[in-house]
Amino acid sequence: MESIPLSWQLIKIGVILFLFINMAPFLVWWERRACAFIQDRLGPNRVGPLGLLQPVADGIKLIFKEEFFPARANKALYFLAPCLSLFVSLFVFAVIPLAAPIEIDGKILYPQIANLNIGMLYVLAISSLGVYGIMVGGWSSNNKYSLLGGLRASSQMISYELTMGMAVASVVLFFGTFDLQKIVETQSGMAWGVLFQPVSFFLFLVAALAESNRVPFDLPEGETELVAGYHTEYGGMKFGSFFFAEYLNIVTLSAMMVTLFFGGYFGLGWLSKIVDAGPILNAIFQFSAFSIKVLSFLFFFIWVRWTFPRFRYDQVMRLGWKVLLPIAIGNILVTAFLIYWGVI
């Protein structure tokens, strides 16, 4: 089937990018409100309705701050690091399917930026580049704490990437494809991946918490030990970019979990049956189902952050290499044997 013309493609990319980028300020607000309620306070509630414009005020403040370069920092790399972080976190989202392909006038519209047949590998490959921004930022600031934060980030992210890759490998074995659209299609009718691959889901969840560098795995920042870790020397919008990248990473990781384990955009099919929806309305329902699932995972991320204390560095490494990795390898082996014997 013919795909849609280039001008439409550009509009589609613009819309998805706009929605995706605006998740970051929304999440900042949500995190501050949610943590406030967890701690029995109100949180930001003065700027705009329910304090929704607070991130806008924060953003304006960050943009108008003085541009500062620390002494003896490597200026080019110091500037490049936040750009790298933001670039990678924006790039990963491109393959996540937001709804099923829509047919309009005999032309097919994929509600994702790129429908790759190696979509899953693309996500792993690009997100493995995310550590560069943090490492380069930590090194180029010419600060001991930044360097320690960068070192911790790189060792932690490498360790947990392995677990994540292994978890994904057994999921891919189960579905038999790297194509995210096809992976979601296989999960129609409540046959969600989490029912067949619960161990992979658990591993992916822990690895996702570690990859996003948030509490309880926020060692690269570790403000009680390392001031602020890799972004100690960063201010203004350069710090803002790191912050943005972190939140966008959480959104992508949540979307990945929904796509792989929780049926992606399926779940509101009964609603579109009741109202007898056309293709466009159906796509909107699918997108809503996807969004609801992603939002609940985002809340889970926030919840975890304000519930658990930080692990020690050696605990993180031990968990990654001595607990999660053997479980992941065993999981692949079991899955492979079950598929070979034709059980699943």
Partner: protein, 169 residues
């Protein structure tokens, strides 16, 4: 499409030159990852998607990160890096480069080592059920020996690393 090929090829050569000319090891390593990234882009333009993804995942995402990790851990001063170890006569360098070049050309022209040309036409790939399937079939039938020997090589490297690390304790 051609301009993408030329652009990425030029970029990869330029950044490869930067790798060997920069004094600061971190900058060299970053340029090396840029080179690997450009190679992945070239693989994509050749429609070898799986190899491109693995190139980024393994080399740019893991191996180079470990390189940079080690360099950062040692925190080498670029001024002190220029150590006068050993100056072999330059003719040796020229000879070994020519030998390597000749050897690679020989392999490329004759395919004598594996005995089989390892590529397929796009039509074959579609008939065989996608890139991954075709590649894994080749890997586990025709090139099984080479594949297993490579894994042995990695095992040797792991054992070596363990031996080196244990000595300090």
């Amino acid at each position: 499409m051609n301009w993408f090929v030329y652009g990425f090829a030029a970029l990869s050569i330029a950044s490869a030159l930067m790798v060997v000319t920069r004094k600061n090891p971190i900058i060299s390593a970053l340029y090396l990852s840029l080179t690997l990234f450009c190679l992945a882009a070239l693989f994509i333009l050749l429609e070898a998607y799986f190899i491109a993804a693995v190139q980024v995942l393994v080399y740019a995402g893991a191996v180079m990160v470990l390189f940079i990790f080690v360099i950062m851990l040692l925190n080498l001063d670029p001024e002190k890096m220029i150590v006068e170890y050993f100056h072999p006569p330059q003719i040796l360098a020229v000879i070994s480069t020519l030998l390597l070049f000749g050897f690679l050309t020989f392999i490329f022209m004759t395919n004598k080592i594996t005995g089989d040309k390892g590529f397929d036409l796009p039509a074959h790939i579609d008939q065989g059920g996608g890139h991954l399937k075709v590649m894994s079939l080749k890997l586990f039938t025709t090139f099984l020996l080479a594949f297993e020997v490579t894994s042995l090589l990695l095992l040797v490297a792991i054992v070596g690393a363990v031996v080196l690390a244990k000595r300090k304790v």
